[in-house]
Symmetry: C2
Subunit: 320 residues, 2 copies
Protein backbone atom coordinates (compact mmCIF):
# COMPACT_ATOMS: atom_id res chain seq x y z
CA UNK A 1 0.00 0.00 0.00
CA UNK A 2 1.38 3.40 -0.99
CA UNK A 3 -1.28 5.35 0.88
CA UNK A 4 -4.70 4.99 2.38
CA UNK A 5 -6.57 5.77 -0.86
CA UNK A 6 -4.26 4.10 -3.35
CA UNK A 7 -5.66 1.36 -5.53
CA UNK A 8 -3.57 -1.68 -6.32
CA UNK A 9 -3.06 -2.84 -9.87
CA UNK A 10 -6.23 -3.55 -11.83
CA UNK A 11 -8.35 -1.12 -9.86
CA UNK A 12 -9.86 0.90 -12.67
CA UNK A 13 -11.70 -2.08 -14.14
CA UNK A 14 -12.51 -3.52 -10.75
CA UNK A 15 -15.62 -3.42 -8.62
CA UNK A 16 -14.96 -1.49 -5.40
CA UNK A 17 -16.55 -3.42 -2.53
CA UNK A 18 -17.43 -1.83 0.81
CA UNK A 19 -15.89 -4.67 2.83
CA UNK A 20 -17.12 -3.31 6.17
CA UNK A 21 -20.78 -2.94 5.13
CA UNK A 22 -23.59 -5.29 6.02
CA UNK A 23 -24.34 -7.38 9.05
CA UNK A 24 -21.61 -9.90 8.24
CA UNK A 25 -18.74 -7.70 7.05
CA UNK A 26 -15.84 -8.16 6.69
CA UNK A 27 -15.94 -11.99 6.91
CA UNK A 28 -18.70 -12.56 4.32
CA UNK A 29 -17.75 -9.59 2.15
CA UNK A 30 -14.14 -10.75 1.81
CA UNK A 31 -15.29 -14.30 1.13
CA UNK A 32 -17.66 -12.83 -1.47
CA UNK A 33 -14.87 -10.88 -3.13
CA UNK A 34 -12.75 -14.03 -3.35
CA UNK A 35 -15.68 -15.93 -4.87
CA UNK A 36 -16.41 -13.08 -7.31
CA UNK A 37 -12.84 -13.26 -8.59
CA UNK A 38 -12.38 -17.03 -8.56
CA UNK A 39 -15.84 -18.16 -9.64
CA UNK A 40 -17.16 -15.26 -11.73
CA UNK A 41 -13.88 -13.82 -13.01
CA UNK A 42 -14.80 -10.40 -11.65
CA UNK A 43 -11.95 -8.18 -10.39
CA UNK A 44 -12.72 -6.68 -6.98
CA UNK A 45 -11.03 -4.04 -4.82
CA UNK A 46 -11.77 -4.36 -1.11
CA UNK A 47 -12.32 -1.10 0.78
CA UNK A 48 -12.09 -1.15 4.57
CA UNK A 49 -9.81 -1.58 7.56
CA UNK A 50 -6.61 -3.01 6.13
CA UNK A 51 -5.69 -5.21 9.15
CA UNK A 52 -9.16 -6.77 9.27
CA UNK A 53 -9.15 -7.40 5.54
CA UNK A 54 -5.64 -8.89 5.53
CA UNK A 55 -6.76 -11.31 8.25
CA UNK A 56 -9.86 -12.35 6.31
CA UNK A 57 -7.93 -12.67 3.04
CA UNK A 58 -5.50 -14.98 4.81
CA UNK A 59 -8.40 -17.27 5.68
CA UNK A 60 -8.95 -17.76 1.95
CA UNK A 61 -5.23 -17.81 1.09
CA UNK A 62 -5.92 -14.71 -1.00
CA UNK A 63 -3.50 -12.11 0.37
CA UNK A 64 -2.14 -10.22 -2.63
CA UNK A 65 -4.78 -11.75 -4.90
CA UNK A 66 -7.45 -9.16 -4.03
CA UNK A 67 -6.29 -5.54 -3.78
CA UNK A 68 -7.14 -3.57 -0.66
CA UNK A 69 -7.81 0.13 -0.17
CA UNK A 70 -7.54 1.13 3.46
CA UNK A 71 -10.45 3.09 4.97
CA UNK A 72 -10.24 3.38 8.75
CA UNK A 73 -13.88 4.26 9.55
CA UNK A 74 -17.11 2.27 9.39
CA UNK A 75 -20.61 3.72 8.90
CA UNK A 76 -22.87 1.94 11.39
CA UNK A 77 -25.79 -0.04 9.90
CA UNK A 78 -28.24 2.12 11.86
CA UNK A 79 -26.92 5.25 10.14
CA UNK A 80 -29.13 6.39 7.31
CA UNK A 81 -28.41 9.30 5.04
CA UNK A 82 -26.34 11.86 6.86
CA UNK A 83 -23.90 9.58 8.66
CA UNK A 84 -21.44 9.03 5.86
CA UNK A 85 -20.77 12.72 5.35
CA UNK A 86 -19.37 12.92 8.87
CA UNK A 87 -17.08 9.97 8.09
CA UNK A 88 -15.15 10.84 4.92
CA UNK A 89 -12.67 8.02 5.64
CA UNK A 90 -15.38 5.37 5.95
CA UNK A 91 -15.29 2.35 3.66
CA UNK A 92 -18.59 3.60 2.21
CA UNK A 93 -17.32 7.11 1.38
CA UNK A 94 -13.92 5.92 0.16
CA UNK A 95 -15.52 3.29 -2.06
CA UNK A 96 -17.96 5.80 -3.58
CA UNK A 97 -15.05 8.18 -4.05
CA UNK A 98 -13.12 5.56 -6.03
CA UNK A 99 -16.03 5.17 -8.44
CA UNK A 100 -16.55 8.93 -8.66
CA UNK A 101 -12.86 9.47 -9.45
CA UNK A 102 -12.81 6.78 -12.12
CA UNK A 103 -10.58 4.54 -10.02
CA UNK A 104 -13.17 1.76 -9.99
CA UNK A 105 -15.75 0.55 -12.51
CA UNK A 106 -18.58 0.08 -10.00
CA UNK A 107 -19.31 0.15 -6.28
CA UNK A 108 -21.06 -2.45 -4.15
CA UNK A 109 -22.13 -2.02 -0.52
CA UNK A 110 -24.27 -4.01 1.89
CA UNK A 111 -24.41 -0.96 4.13
CA UNK A 112 -27.57 0.90 5.02
CA UNK A 113 -29.48 1.99 1.91
CA UNK A 114 -29.95 5.57 3.05
CA UNK A 115 -26.26 6.06 3.71
CA UNK A 116 -25.27 4.53 0.37
CA UNK A 117 -27.74 6.73 -1.52
CA UNK A 118 -26.51 9.88 0.23
CA UNK A 119 -22.84 9.12 -0.40
CA UNK A 120 -23.36 7.94 -3.96
CA UNK A 121 -25.24 11.09 -4.93
CA UNK A 122 -22.49 13.21 -3.34
CA UNK A 123 -19.42 11.34 -4.57
CA UNK A 124 -20.54 9.59 -7.76
CA UNK A 125 -23.07 12.18 -8.88
CA UNK A 126 -26.31 12.07 -10.82
CA UNK A 127 -26.38 11.30 -14.52
CA UNK A 128 -27.20 14.26 -16.72
CA UNK A 129 -30.84 15.29 -16.47
CA UNK A 130 -31.69 12.88 -13.68
CA UNK A 131 -33.58 14.63 -10.87
CA UNK A 132 -33.14 11.94 -8.22
CA UNK A 133 -31.73 8.42 -8.22
CA UNK A 134 -33.97 5.41 -7.68
CA UNK A 135 -33.40 1.91 -6.38
CA UNK A 136 -34.30 -0.79 -8.85
CA UNK A 137 -34.92 -4.30 -7.51
CA UNK A 138 -35.69 -7.29 -9.73
CA UNK A 139 -38.56 -9.28 -8.21
CA UNK A 140 -39.05 -12.81 -9.56
CA UNK A 141 -42.57 -13.27 -10.90
CA UNK A 142 -44.89 -16.25 -10.91
CA UNK A 143 -44.60 -16.87 -14.67
CA UNK A 144 -40.83 -17.19 -14.24
CA UNK A 145 -39.32 -13.87 -15.28
CA UNK A 146 -38.81 -10.77 -13.17
CA UNK A 147 -40.23 -7.28 -12.78
CA UNK A 148 -38.13 -4.29 -11.74
CA UNK A 149 -39.61 -2.44 -8.78
CA UNK A 150 -38.47 1.18 -9.01
CA UNK A 151 -38.12 3.14 -6.72
CA UNK A 152 -37.58 0.57 -3.96
CA UNK A 153 -36.51 3.14 -1.40
CA UNK A 154 -34.05 5.80 -2.56
CA UNK A 155 -36.45 8.76 -2.73
CA UNK A 156 -39.28 8.71 -0.19
CA UNK A 157 -40.97 11.90 -1.39
CA UNK A 158 -40.51 12.13 -5.16
CA UNK A 159 -42.31 14.56 -7.43
CA UNK A 160 -44.46 13.14 -10.26
CA UNK A 161 -41.69 14.21 -12.66
CA UNK A 162 -39.17 12.09 -10.74
CA UNK A 163 -41.55 9.11 -10.89
CA UNK A 164 -41.80 9.43 -14.67
CA UNK A 165 -38.00 9.28 -14.79
CA UNK A 166 -38.09 6.18 -12.57
CA UNK A 167 -39.97 4.44 -15.39
CA UNK A 168 -37.21 5.30 -17.87
CA UNK A 169 -34.48 4.24 -15.43
CA UNK A 170 -36.32 0.98 -14.72
CA UNK A 171 -36.73 0.34 -18.43
CA UNK A 172 -32.99 0.75 -18.87
CA UNK A 173 -32.40 -1.80 -16.13
CA UNK A 174 -34.94 -4.21 -17.64
CA UNK A 175 -33.20 -4.01 -21.02
CA UNK A 176 -29.68 -4.31 -19.61
CA UNK A 177 -30.13 -6.85 -16.82
CA UNK A 178 -33.34 -8.74 -17.63
CA UNK A 179 -32.87 -8.84 -21.42
CA UNK A 180 -36.31 -7.38 -22.09
CA UNK A 181 -35.98 -5.57 -25.44
CA UNK A 182 -39.05 -3.30 -25.16
CA UNK A 183 -40.09 -3.10 -21.51
CA UNK A 184 -43.62 -2.12 -20.46
CA UNK A 185 -44.13 -0.10 -17.30
CA UNK A 186 -47.08 -0.07 -14.90
CA UNK A 187 -47.85 2.43 -12.14
CA UNK A 188 -48.53 0.88 -8.73
CA UNK A 189 -51.83 2.32 -7.51
CA UNK A 190 -55.10 1.46 -5.77
CA UNK A 191 -57.25 0.75 -8.78
CA UNK A 192 -56.45 -0.38 -12.29
CA UNK A 193 -58.69 2.23 -13.92
CA UNK A 194 -57.12 5.49 -15.15
CA UNK A 195 -57.28 8.30 -12.60
CA UNK A 196 -57.21 6.04 -9.51
CA UNK A 197 -54.66 6.70 -6.79
CA UNK A 198 -53.48 9.35 -4.40
CA UNK A 199 -52.59 12.82 -5.71
CA UNK A 200 -48.99 11.82 -6.45
CA UNK A 201 -49.91 8.68 -8.37
CA UNK A 202 -52.65 10.42 -10.37
CA UNK A 203 -50.27 13.13 -11.56
CA UNK A 204 -47.51 10.60 -12.23
CA UNK A 205 -49.94 8.56 -14.33
CA UNK A 206 -50.55 11.56 -16.60
CA UNK A 207 -46.81 12.02 -17.12
CA UNK A 208 -46.22 8.30 -17.68
CA UNK A 209 -48.78 8.34 -20.50
CA UNK A 210 -46.64 10.95 -22.26
CA UNK A 211 -43.33 9.08 -22.06
CA UNK A 212 -41.63 7.64 -25.15
CA UNK A 213 -42.02 4.08 -23.83
CA UNK A 214 -44.74 1.46 -23.38
CA UNK A 215 -47.11 2.18 -20.47
CA UNK A 216 -49.61 -0.46 -19.35
CA UNK A 217 -51.53 1.85 -17.01
CA UNK A 218 -52.16 1.30 -13.31
CA UNK A 219 -51.56 -2.00 -11.55
CA UNK A 220 -52.51 -2.99 -7.99
CA UNK A 221 -50.64 -4.59 -5.12
CA UNK A 222 -51.53 -8.13 -6.14
CA UNK A 223 -49.80 -7.59 -9.49
CA UNK A 224 -46.36 -7.04 -7.97
CA UNK A 225 -45.39 -10.71 -8.45
CA UNK A 226 -47.79 -11.53 -11.29
CA UNK A 227 -45.48 -10.50 -14.12
CA UNK A 228 -48.11 -8.12 -15.53
CA UNK A 229 -45.44 -5.53 -16.37
CA UNK A 230 -41.64 -5.39 -16.66
CA UNK A 231 -41.24 -2.16 -14.68
CA UNK A 232 -43.30 -1.39 -11.57
CA UNK A 233 -43.16 2.37 -11.00
CA UNK A 234 -43.81 3.76 -7.53
CA UNK A 235 -42.54 6.29 -5.04
CA UNK A 236 -39.67 5.21 -2.76
CA UNK A 237 -41.88 5.04 0.34
CA UNK A 238 -44.49 2.71 -1.15
CA UNK A 239 -41.79 0.78 -3.02
CA UNK A 240 -39.75 0.09 0.10
CA UNK A 241 -42.82 -0.95 2.09
CA UNK A 242 -43.85 -3.28 -0.75
CA UNK A 243 -40.35 -4.75 -1.16
CA UNK A 244 -40.20 -5.68 2.51
CA UNK A 245 -43.82 -6.81 2.48
CA UNK A 246 -43.03 -9.24 -0.34
CA UNK A 247 -40.22 -10.74 1.72
CA UNK A 248 -42.37 -10.95 4.84
CA UNK A 249 -45.42 -12.43 3.13
CA UNK A 250 -43.52 -15.09 1.20
CA UNK A 251 -41.66 -16.07 4.38
CA UNK A 252 -44.93 -16.17 6.35
CA UNK A 253 -46.80 -18.22 3.76
CA UNK A 254 -44.00 -20.78 3.59
CA UNK A 255 -43.78 -20.90 7.38
CA UNK A 256 -47.50 -21.65 7.48
CA UNK A 257 -47.02 -24.49 4.99
CA UNK A 258 -44.17 -25.88 7.09
CA UNK A 259 -46.14 -25.55 10.32
CA UNK A 260 -49.07 -27.40 8.76
CA UNK A 261 -46.60 -30.20 8.00
CA UNK A 262 -47.43 -30.00 4.30
CA UNK A 263 -43.87 -29.88 3.01
CA UNK A 264 -40.31 -30.43 4.09
CA UNK A 265 -38.62 -27.22 5.41
CA UNK A 266 -35.47 -27.63 3.31
CA UNK A 267 -37.49 -27.80 0.10
CA UNK A 268 -39.50 -24.75 1.17
CA UNK A 269 -36.30 -22.85 1.85
CA UNK A 270 -35.36 -23.32 -1.79
CA UNK A 271 -38.66 -21.74 -2.85
CA UNK A 272 -38.08 -18.91 -0.38
CA UNK A 273 -34.70 -18.20 -1.88
CA UNK A 274 -36.27 -17.52 -5.26
CA UNK A 275 -38.12 -14.59 -3.68
CA UNK A 276 -35.22 -13.27 -1.73
CA UNK A 277 -34.09 -10.05 -3.40
CA UNK A 278 -30.56 -10.99 -2.31
CA UNK A 279 -30.57 -13.81 -4.81
CA UNK A 280 -30.78 -11.36 -7.64
CA UNK A 281 -27.65 -9.43 -6.90
CA UNK A 282 -29.01 -6.61 -4.83
CA UNK A 283 -30.68 -3.35 -5.69
CA UNK A 284 -29.21 -1.13 -8.38
CA UNK A 285 -29.05 2.57 -7.63
CA UNK A 286 -30.19 3.93 -10.98
CA UNK A 287 -29.60 7.38 -12.43
CA UNK A 288 -26.00 7.94 -11.31
CA UNK A 289 -22.80 8.58 -13.27
CA UNK A 290 -21.60 5.11 -12.32
CA UNK A 291 -22.87 1.70 -11.26
CA UNK A 292 -23.78 1.36 -7.59
CA UNK A 293 -25.32 -1.80 -6.13
CA UNK A 294 -26.86 -1.91 -2.66
CA UNK A 295 -26.72 -5.50 -1.41
CA UNK A 296 -28.98 -6.72 1.38
CA UNK A 297 -27.66 -5.98 4.88
CA UNK A 298 -27.75 -9.68 5.70
CA UNK A 299 -25.78 -10.62 2.58
CA UNK A 300 -23.73 -13.80 2.63
CA UNK A 301 -20.57 -14.45 0.61
CA UNK A 302 -22.55 -15.91 -2.29
CA UNK A 303 -24.83 -12.87 -2.39
CA UNK A 304 -21.91 -10.47 -2.29
CA UNK A 305 -20.22 -12.36 -5.12
CA UNK A 306 -23.38 -12.19 -7.22
CA UNK A 307 -23.78 -8.46 -6.50
CA UNK A 308 -20.20 -7.89 -7.67
CA UNK A 309 -20.88 -9.84 -10.85
CA UNK A 310 -24.06 -7.85 -11.58
CA UNK A 311 -22.22 -4.60 -10.85
CA UNK A 312 -19.42 -5.58 -13.19
CA UNK A 313 -21.73 -6.44 -16.08
CA UNK A 314 -23.85 -3.31 -15.53
CA UNK A 315 -20.74 -1.11 -15.51
CA UNK A 316 -19.76 -2.26 -18.98
CA UNK A 317 -23.11 -1.18 -20.48
CA UNK A 318 -23.99 2.18 -21.94
CA UNK A 319 -25.55 4.52 -19.37
CA UNK A 320 -29.34 4.41 -19.45
Amino acid sequence: MTGPYAVHAGGRDAVALDAMGGDHGPAETVAGAVAARREHGVPVVLVGREPDLARELAVHDAVGEIPVVHAPDVVPMTERGVGGAALPASSLAVGCGLLGAGEAAAFVSAGSTGAVVAQAVRLVGRAEGVLRPALGVALPTLPGGASVLVDAGATADPTPEMMAQFALLGAGYARAVLDVPDPVAGLLSIGSEPGKGNRLARRAEELLRGLPMRFHGNIEGDDVLSGAVDVIVTDGFTGNVVLKNVEGCVRTALAMVARAGLAEPGALARVARRYDPQTHGGAALLGLRGTVIVAHGSSTAATVARACAVAHSLSSLEPV
Copy 2:
Protein backbone atom coordinates in the same frame (compact mmCIF):
# COMPACT_ATOMS: atom_id res chain seq x y z
CA MET B 1 -94.21 -4.52 1.04
CA THR B 2 -95.93 -1.26 1.99
CA GLY B 3 -93.52 0.84 -0.09
CA PRO B 4 -90.11 0.77 -1.66
CA TYR B 5 -88.24 1.90 1.48
CA ALA B 6 -90.33 0.17 4.14
CA VAL B 7 -88.62 -2.35 6.40
CA HIS B 8 -90.39 -5.53 7.37
CA ALA B 9 -90.70 -6.62 10.98
CA GLY B 10 -87.44 -6.87 12.86
CA GLY B 11 -85.66 -4.33 10.66
CA ARG B 12 -84.28 -2.00 13.33
CA ASP B 13 -82.14 -4.72 14.90
CA ALA B 14 -81.26 -6.25 11.58
CA VAL B 15 -78.22 -5.97 9.35
CA ALA B 16 -79.10 -4.30 6.05
CA LEU B 17 -77.39 -6.22 3.25
CA ASP B 18 -76.72 -4.75 -0.20
CA ALA B 19 -78.00 -7.82 -2.02
CA MET B 20 -76.96 -6.53 -5.46
CA GLY B 21 -73.35 -5.76 -4.52
CA GLY B 22 -70.33 -7.86 -5.35
CA ASP B 23 -69.42 -10.04 -8.28
CA HIS B 24 -71.88 -12.76 -7.28
CA GLY B 25 -74.92 -10.76 -6.12
CA PRO B 26 -77.77 -11.50 -5.69
CA ALA B 27 -77.32 -15.30 -5.71
CA GLU B 28 -74.48 -15.47 -3.16
CA THR B 29 -75.69 -12.50 -1.12
CA VAL B 30 -79.15 -13.97 -0.64
CA ALA B 31 -77.66 -17.36 0.20
CA GLY B 32 -75.40 -15.54 2.66
CA ALA B 33 -78.35 -13.77 4.28
CA VAL B 34 -80.13 -17.08 4.72
CA ALA B 35 -77.01 -18.61 6.26
CA ALA B 36 -76.52 -15.59 8.53
CA ARG B 37 -80.04 -16.03 9.88
CA ARG B 38 -80.14 -19.81 10.07
CA GLU B 39 -76.55 -20.56 11.13
CA HIS B 40 -75.48 -17.43 13.04
CA GLY B 41 -78.88 -16.26 14.32
CA VAL B 42 -78.32 -12.85 12.77
CA PRO B 43 -81.37 -10.97 11.44
CA VAL B 44 -80.82 -9.58 7.95
CA VAL B 45 -82.78 -7.24 5.70
CA LEU B 46 -82.08 -7.68 2.00
CA VAL B 47 -81.88 -4.50 -0.08
CA GLY B 48 -82.15 -4.77 -3.85
CA ARG B 49 -84.42 -5.58 -6.77
CA GLU B 50 -87.45 -7.23 -5.21
CA PRO B 51 -88.22 -9.67 -8.06
CA ASP B 52 -84.61 -10.88 -8.18
CA LEU B 53 -84.50 -11.30 -4.42
CA ALA B 54 -87.83 -13.12 -4.26
CA ARG B 55 -86.55 -15.55 -6.88
CA GLU B 56 -83.33 -16.21 -4.96
CA LEU B 57 -85.17 -16.52 -1.64
CA ALA B 58 -87.41 -19.14 -3.22
CA VAL B 59 -84.31 -21.18 -4.05
CA HIS B 60 -83.67 -21.43 -0.29
CA ASP B 61 -87.33 -21.79 0.64
CA ALA B 62 -86.90 -18.51 2.57
CA VAL B 63 -89.59 -16.23 1.10
CA GLY B 64 -91.05 -14.32 4.05
CA GLU B 65 -88.24 -15.48 6.33
CA ILE B 66 -85.85 -12.70 5.26
CA PRO B 67 -87.34 -9.21 4.84
CA VAL B 68 -86.75 -7.36 1.60
CA VAL B 69 -86.46 -3.64 0.90
CA HIS B 70 -86.88 -2.87 -2.77
CA ALA B 71 -84.21 -0.73 -4.45
CA PRO B 72 -84.49 -0.68 -8.23
CA ASP B 73 -80.99 0.50 -9.14
CA VAL B 74 -77.57 -1.15 -8.95
CA VAL B 75 -74.21 0.64 -8.61
CA PRO B 76 -71.81 -1.03 -11.06
CA MET B 77 -68.69 -2.63 -9.53
CA THR B 78 -66.49 -0.36 -11.64
CA GLU B 79 -68.07 2.72 -10.07
CA ARG B 80 -65.92 4.24 -7.37
CA GLY B 81 -66.90 7.15 -5.22
CA VAL B 82 -69.23 9.41 -7.11
CA GLY B 83 -71.46 6.83 -8.78
CA GLY B 84 -73.80 6.17 -5.90
CA ALA B 85 -74.87 9.79 -5.55
CA ALA B 86 -76.33 9.65 -9.04
CA LEU B 87 -78.33 6.55 -8.06
CA PRO B 88 -80.29 7.42 -4.91
CA ALA B 89 -82.49 4.34 -5.43
CA SER B 90 -79.54 1.95 -5.66
CA SER B 91 -79.29 -0.93 -3.21
CA LEU B 92 -76.13 0.71 -1.90
CA ALA B 93 -77.71 4.10 -1.23
CA VAL B 94 -80.96 2.67 0.14
CA GLY B 95 -79.07 0.34 2.47
CA CYS B 96 -76.87 3.14 3.79
CA GLY B 97 -79.98 5.24 4.19
CA LEU B 98 -81.64 2.57 6.35
CA LEU B 99 -78.65 2.60 8.71
CA GLY B 100 -78.50 6.40 8.72
CA ALA B 101 -82.20 6.62 9.56
CA GLY B 102 -81.92 4.08 12.38
CA GLU B 103 -83.98 1.54 10.46
CA ALA B 104 -81.13 -0.98 10.51
CA ALA B 105 -78.39 -1.81 13.02
CA ALA B 106 -75.60 -2.14 10.47
CA PHE B 107 -74.92 -2.19 6.74
CA VAL B 108 -72.97 -4.74 4.70
CA SER B 109 -71.99 -4.40 1.04
CA ALA B 110 -69.71 -6.31 -1.31
CA GLY B 111 -69.90 -3.37 -3.71
CA SER B 112 -66.93 -1.26 -4.75
CA THR B 113 -65.10 0.16 -1.76
CA GLY B 114 -64.99 3.71 -3.09
CA ALA B 115 -68.72 3.80 -3.70
CA VAL B 116 -69.52 2.36 -0.26
CA VAL B 117 -67.25 4.88 1.46
CA ALA B 118 -68.79 7.81 -0.43
CA GLN B 119 -72.36 6.73 0.31
CA ALA B 120 -71.70 5.80 3.93
CA VAL B 121 -70.11 9.17 4.69
CA ARG B 122 -73.07 10.93 3.05
CA LEU B 123 -75.93 8.85 4.44
CA VAL B 124 -74.62 7.38 7.70
CA GLY B 125 -72.33 10.27 8.60
CA ARG B 126 -69.07 10.57 10.48
CA ALA B 127 -68.89 10.00 14.21
CA GLU B 128 -68.35 13.14 16.24
CA GLY B 129 -64.84 14.53 15.87
CA VAL B 130 -63.79 12.03 13.20
CA LEU B 131 -62.10 13.79 10.27
CA ARG B 132 -62.29 10.93 7.77
CA PRO B 133 -63.35 7.31 7.94
CA ALA B 134 -60.81 4.51 7.56
CA LEU B 135 -61.06 0.91 6.44
CA GLY B 136 -59.87 -1.57 9.04
CA VAL B 137 -58.93 -5.08 7.89
CA ALA B 138 -57.86 -7.85 10.26
CA LEU B 139 -54.82 -9.64 8.81
CA PRO B 140 -53.98 -13.01 10.36
CA THR B 141 -50.43 -13.06 11.70
CA LEU B 142 -47.84 -15.80 11.85
CA PRO B 143 -48.08 -16.24 15.65
CA GLY B 144 -51.79 -16.96 15.25
CA GLY B 145 -53.62 -13.74 16.13
CA ALA B 146 -54.43 -10.83 13.86
CA SER B 147 -53.35 -7.24 13.27
CA VAL B 148 -55.73 -4.53 12.08
CA LEU B 149 -54.46 -2.71 9.02
CA VAL B 150 -55.94 0.81 9.05
CA ASP B 151 -56.47 2.59 6.66
CA ALA B 152 -56.77 -0.17 4.06
CA GLY B 153 -58.09 2.15 1.38
CA ALA B 154 -60.80 4.62 2.41
CA THR B 155 -58.70 7.80 2.40
CA ALA B 156 -55.88 7.89 -0.16
CA ASP B 157 -54.49 11.29 0.86
CA PRO B 158 -54.98 11.69 4.62
CA THR B 159 -53.44 14.41 6.74
CA PRO B 160 -51.16 13.36 9.64
CA GLU B 161 -54.01 14.26 12.00
CA MET B 162 -56.31 11.81 10.21
CA MET B 163 -53.65 9.10 10.51
CA ALA B 164 -53.41 9.64 14.25
CA GLN B 165 -57.18 9.13 14.42
CA PHE B 166 -56.81 5.93 12.37
CA ALA B 167 -54.75 4.53 15.26
CA LEU B 168 -57.56 5.24 17.72
CA LEU B 169 -60.17 3.80 15.36
CA GLY B 170 -58.05 0.70 14.81
CA ALA B 171 -57.56 0.28 18.54
CA GLY B 172 -61.33 0.35 19.02
CA TYR B 173 -61.67 -2.38 16.41
CA ALA B 174 -58.91 -4.45 18.01
CA ARG B 175 -60.64 -4.24 21.40
CA ALA B 176 -64.10 -4.97 20.03
CA VAL B 177 -63.42 -7.60 17.38
CA LEU B 178 -60.05 -9.11 18.25
CA ASP B 179 -60.48 -9.07 22.04
CA VAL B 180 -57.21 -7.22 22.61
CA PRO B 181 -57.72 -5.28 25.86
CA ASP B 182 -54.88 -2.75 25.46
CA PRO B 183 -53.87 -2.63 21.78
CA VAL B 184 -50.47 -1.37 20.66
CA ALA B 185 -50.17 0.51 17.38
CA GLY B 186 -47.23 0.72 14.97
CA LEU B 187 -46.73 3.12 12.07
CA LEU B 188 -45.91 1.47 8.74
CA SER B 189 -42.78 3.16 7.44
CA ILE B 190 -39.43 2.54 5.74
CA GLY B 191 -37.21 2.21 8.79
CA SER B 192 -37.91 1.18 12.35
CA GLU B 193 -35.95 4.08 13.85
CA PRO B 194 -37.81 7.23 14.90
CA GLY B 195 -37.92 9.90 12.21
CA LYS B 196 -37.76 7.50 9.24
CA GLY B 197 -40.36 7.75 6.48
CA ASN B 198 -41.78 10.14 3.96
CA ARG B 199 -43.02 13.57 5.09
CA LEU B 200 -46.51 12.28 5.88
CA ALA B 201 -45.29 9.34 7.98
CA ARG B 202 -42.74 11.43 9.87
CA ARG B 203 -45.36 13.96 10.90
CA ALA B 204 -47.89 11.22 11.73
CA GLU B 205 -45.26 9.55 13.92
CA GLU B 206 -44.94 12.71 16.04
CA LEU B 207 -48.70 12.83 16.55
CA LEU B 208 -48.92 9.10 17.30
CA ARG B 209 -46.38 9.54 20.09
CA GLY B 210 -48.74 12.01 21.75
CA LEU B 211 -51.86 9.83 21.67
CA PRO B 212 -53.42 8.37 24.84
CA MET B 213 -52.67 4.82 23.71
CA ARG B 214 -49.69 2.46 23.37
CA PHE B 215 -47.43 3.25 20.40
CA HIS B 216 -44.69 0.81 19.42
CA GLY B 217 -43.01 3.17 16.94
CA ASN B 218 -42.33 2.48 13.29
CA ILE B 219 -42.61 -0.94 11.70
CA GLU B 220 -41.57 -2.02 8.20
CA GLY B 221 -43.28 -3.95 5.44
CA ASP B 222 -42.03 -7.33 6.63
CA ASP B 223 -43.81 -6.79 9.95
CA VAL B 224 -47.28 -6.66 8.43
CA LEU B 225 -47.89 -10.37 9.09
CA SER B 226 -45.42 -10.80 11.97
CA GLY B 227 -47.82 -9.85 14.75
CA ALA B 228 -45.42 -7.15 16.03
CA VAL B 229 -48.34 -4.81 16.72
CA ASP B 230 -52.13 -5.02 17.03
CA VAL B 231 -52.85 -1.96 14.89
CA ILE B 232 -50.86 -1.15 11.73
CA VAL B 233 -51.38 2.54 10.96
CA THR B 234 -50.88 3.81 7.42
CA ASP B 235 -52.40 6.06 4.79
CA GLY B 236 -55.14 4.59 2.59
CA PHE B 237 -52.92 4.48 -0.50
CA THR B 238 -50.10 2.49 1.09
CA GLY B 239 -52.61 0.42 3.07
CA ASN B 240 -54.56 -0.64 0.01
CA VAL B 241 -51.40 -1.48 -1.95
CA VAL B 242 -50.15 -3.55 1.02
CA LEU B 243 -53.48 -5.33 1.53
CA LYS B 244 -53.54 -6.46 -2.10
CA ASN B 245 -49.83 -7.22 -2.03
CA VAL B 246 -50.38 -9.58 0.93
CA GLU B 247 -53.03 -11.45 -1.05
CA GLY B 248 -50.86 -11.61 -4.16
CA CYS B 249 -47.68 -12.68 -2.38
CA VAL B 250 -49.31 -15.42 -0.31
CA ARG B 251 -51.05 -16.73 -3.43
CA THR B 252 -47.80 -16.62 -5.39
CA ALA B 253 -45.73 -18.33 -2.69
CA LEU B 254 -48.26 -21.16 -2.39
CA ALA B 255 -48.44 -21.50 -6.17
CA MET B 256 -44.67 -21.88 -6.22
CA VAL B 257 -44.89 -24.62 -3.59
CA ALA B 258 -47.59 -26.39 -5.60
CA ARG B 259 -45.64 -26.04 -8.85
CA ALA B 260 -42.53 -27.50 -7.19
CA GLY B 261 -44.70 -30.48 -6.29
CA LEU B 262 -43.93 -30.02 -2.59
CA ALA B 263 -47.48 -30.16 -1.29
CA GLU B 264 -50.97 -31.11 -2.34
CA PRO B 265 -52.97 -28.17 -3.82
CA GLY B 266 -56.06 -28.77 -1.68
CA ALA B 267 -54.05 -28.56 1.52
CA LEU B 268 -52.34 -25.39 0.27
CA ALA B 269 -55.73 -23.85 -0.50
CA ARG B 270 -56.62 -24.22 3.18
CA VAL B 271 -53.48 -22.25 4.12
CA ALA B 272 -54.35 -19.62 1.50
CA ARG B 273 -57.80 -19.19 2.99
CA ARG B 274 -56.27 -18.18 6.31
CA TYR B 275 -54.73 -15.16 4.58
CA ASP B 276 -57.76 -14.26 2.59
CA PRO B 277 -59.19 -11.05 4.08
CA GLN B 278 -62.63 -12.39 3.14
CA THR B 279 -62.33 -15.06 5.77
CA HIS B 280 -62.35 -12.45 8.47
CA GLY B 281 -65.68 -10.90 7.71
CA GLY B 282 -64.63 -8.08 5.45
CA ALA B 283 -63.27 -4.63 6.09
CA ALA B 284 -64.92 -2.42 8.68
CA LEU B 285 -65.46 1.20 7.73
CA LEU B 286 -64.42 2.84 10.99
CA GLY B 287 -65.32 6.29 12.27
CA LEU B 288 -68.95 6.45 11.19
CA ARG B 289 -72.17 6.87 13.19
CA GLY B 290 -73.02 3.26 12.45
CA THR B 291 -71.46 -0.06 11.55
CA VAL B 292 -70.57 -0.51 7.88
CA ILE B 293 -68.75 -3.57 6.56
CA VAL B 294 -67.26 -3.73 3.08
CA ALA B 295 -67.06 -7.37 2.02
CA HIS B 296 -64.74 -8.52 -0.74
CA GLY B 297 -66.17 -8.11 -4.23
CA SER B 298 -65.76 -11.83 -4.87
CA SER B 299 -67.58 -12.79 -1.66
CA THR B 300 -69.32 -16.13 -1.52
CA ALA B 301 -72.38 -16.96 0.60
CA ALA B 302 -70.22 -18.07 3.55
CA THR B 303 -68.24 -14.83 3.42
CA VAL B 304 -71.37 -12.73 3.26
CA ALA B 305 -72.82 -14.62 6.23
CA ARG B 306 -69.67 -14.01 8.25
CA ALA B 307 -69.63 -10.32 7.31
CA CYS B 308 -73.24 -10.04 8.53
CA ALA B 309 -72.33 -11.74 11.80
CA VAL B 310 -69.34 -9.42 12.34
CA ALA B 311 -71.51 -6.40 11.49
CA HIS B 312 -74.16 -7.53 13.93
CA SER B 313 -71.74 -7.99 16.81
CA LEU B 314 -69.95 -4.69 16.08
CA SER B 315 -73.26 -2.83 15.99
CA SER B 316 -74.09 -3.91 19.52
CA LEU B 317 -70.87 -2.39 20.91
CA GLU B 318 -70.31 1.10 22.21
CA PRO B 319 -69.06 3.44 19.52
CA VAL B 320 -65.26 3.75 19.49
